[in-house]
């Protein structure tokens, strides 16, 4: 095909990289006119209020025109690139116009009713999804491969011509301040804690890690995420959001993990459908996004809306326990302190055991302490029986 058919042309829009992002600017284009871009390719670095994010494109195509020059601040939804696809696939509608509800602009995309419903709930545009069904129709399983560009961020490593990092840190601080103020004033928290014996888990991981190369070893952090995701799936009352005076259950268990930055501030990369991953897969993701967050190279894969529960894990340099604040509009925050050897009663004998204190902060409008207690009991059972998971 020598000529570009108009139906294969599409635009790439400034993505929303956070619930609180209204505008952003491209710091640097990593592609140019005439380049062939692939699905998942990082095409630019974008500066937002909070930080810089590498943005990815979710459709393959050839770049025809770069519409926005670096450093110009544009609002979310502004066309950034014009592209065309080399293969014709008329069933997927690209470049939804901005300002319309997702469901409306997706009306022309072929999709199963379940996929449509899930997309709506997750705030995913069907036009961003490559369908695997008949005639390219989007099926619900296709949604699991999608990452909506949204939330979170980074303080960027200085690599020439960077924006002022101190003002970036200030803006991140301001965002955290605003969100935590809202959490504290709007959400009536109840707080629970439970000490969990990690003897079995520690031994299980040590034996498993001894036989594996460094890159495939698993830290307790991955087990914490997995146990939390399993508990959230079993206790859906704690997995979701509080919107307009009522609880909205999450579509899937989408776990945000708080990553503290060395220069101060936090980022919360997201693992979608975390309950569907193995320990290995979770570990891989956590190691990767932690390093990415701390070096300012977080990709949009790990950002976005749709988080249903958040974990804060203080790690081995942290305090013994943490009572955090729920990230609105979620209804639960699970906190892990550092793992400490403590005297523990096992079979009527006192023994030193590695103990972690897990806390749950939950929205009392949505649930009561009995639900929270059951959630922590499920979580404890998973961690105490590592072979089960």
């Amino acid at each position: 095909m020598s000529q570009t058919d108009s139906s294969t042309e599409f635009e790439y829009l400034m993505p929303s990289l956070g619930a609180d992002m209204d505008e952003g600017s491209v710091i640097e284009w990593l592609i140019g006119v005439g380049d062939l871009v692939e699905r998942g390719q990082v095409i630019a670095r974008v500066e937002t209020e909070k930080s810089d994010i590498d943005i990815e494109i979710w459709h393959e195509g050839t770049v025809d025109e770069v519409l926005v020059e670096p450093r110009r601040i544009v609002s979310v939804g502004t066309p950034l690139l014009k592209l065309h696809r080399s293969r014709v696939d008329s069933h997927v509608d690209f470049a939804p116009p901005v300002g319309e509800p997702v469901s409306q602009r997706d009306a022309t995309v072929l999709a199963s009713p379940l996929a449509r419903h899930l997309a709506d709930e997750r705030g995913v545009s069907l036009s961003d999804v490559v369908g695997s069904g008949p005639h390219g129709a989007v099926r619900c399983c296709d949604l699991d491969r999608v990452t909506t560009p949204e939330l979170s961020t980074t303080t960027n490593a200085p690599d020439g011509g960077e924006p002022d990092p101190s003002s970036r840190a200030d803006r991140m601080r301001a965002t955290i301040a605003m969100r935590m103020e809202r959490s504290s004033s709007d959400i009536p928290h109840y707080r629970l804690e439970r000490a969990i014996d990690l003897g079995a888990l520690t031994q299980y991981l040590a034996e498993r890690n001894e036989q594996r190369p460094v890159a495939e070893r698993i830290l307790p952090a991955a087990a914490f995420v997995r146990a939390t995701a399993i508990a959230a799936a079993r206790h859906p009352e704690l997995n979701g959001t509080w919107v307009d005076g009522r609880f909205v259950p999450g579509a899937g268990v989408n776990v945000s993990v708080v990553v503290s930055l060395r220069t101060g501030g936090l980022l919360t990369p997201l693992i979608r459908d975390a309950d569907q991953y193995s320990l290995d897969e979770l570990m891989h993701q956590i190691a990767e996004f932690t390093a990415a967050a701390r070096t300012g190279t977080l990709r949009s894969t790990w950002t976005g809306a749709g988080s249903t529960i958040t974990i804060t894990n203080l790690g081995d340099r942290g305090a013994d326990l943490v009572h955090g604040l729920i990230s609105p509009p979620e209804v639960a925050l699970v906190g892990f302190g550092r793992v400490v050897e403590r005297p523990w009663v096992v079979d009527r004998q006192v023994e030193p055991r590695p103990i972690v204190i897990v806390t749950l902060g939950a929205d009392h409008r949505a649930t009561d302490a009995s639900v929270g207690s059951r959630f922590l009991a499920t979580l404890a059972r998973s961690l105490e029986n590592p072979e089960m998971s």
Partner: protein, 85 residues
């Protein structure tokens, strides 16, 4: 298949730069006997990424059981069997 080699201060600097770019520049000048994880406030997740990078750079395995010992530049170099280069 892979050949192994000794670890260098450059390897270590690169490994630390990938998790803590703010202190990577200090690695070369650091006292080689002090606990660098302590010094730089690196946690177990950082350590996993650093050990992975060092293992990949040198082609050698690093036993998890040795982690508590492998805290200083000198100890890492001795374990990874490397003269200073």
């Amino acid at each position: 298949m892979n050949t192994t080699r000794s670890v260098t201060v450059d390897d270590l600097t690169a490994a630390i730069a990938a998790v803590a770019p703010d202190v990577a520049g200090e690695v070369a000048g650091l006292d080689r006997d002090i606990d660098l994880f302590e010094e730089f406030g690196l946690d177990s997740m950082d350590r996993l990424n650093i050990m992975t990078a060092l293992s990949e750079a040198t082609g050698r395995e690093i036993s998890e059981r040795q982690y508590p010992e492998l805290t200083s530049i000198n100890r890492l170099m001795a374990y990874l069997d490397g003269p200073v280069t």
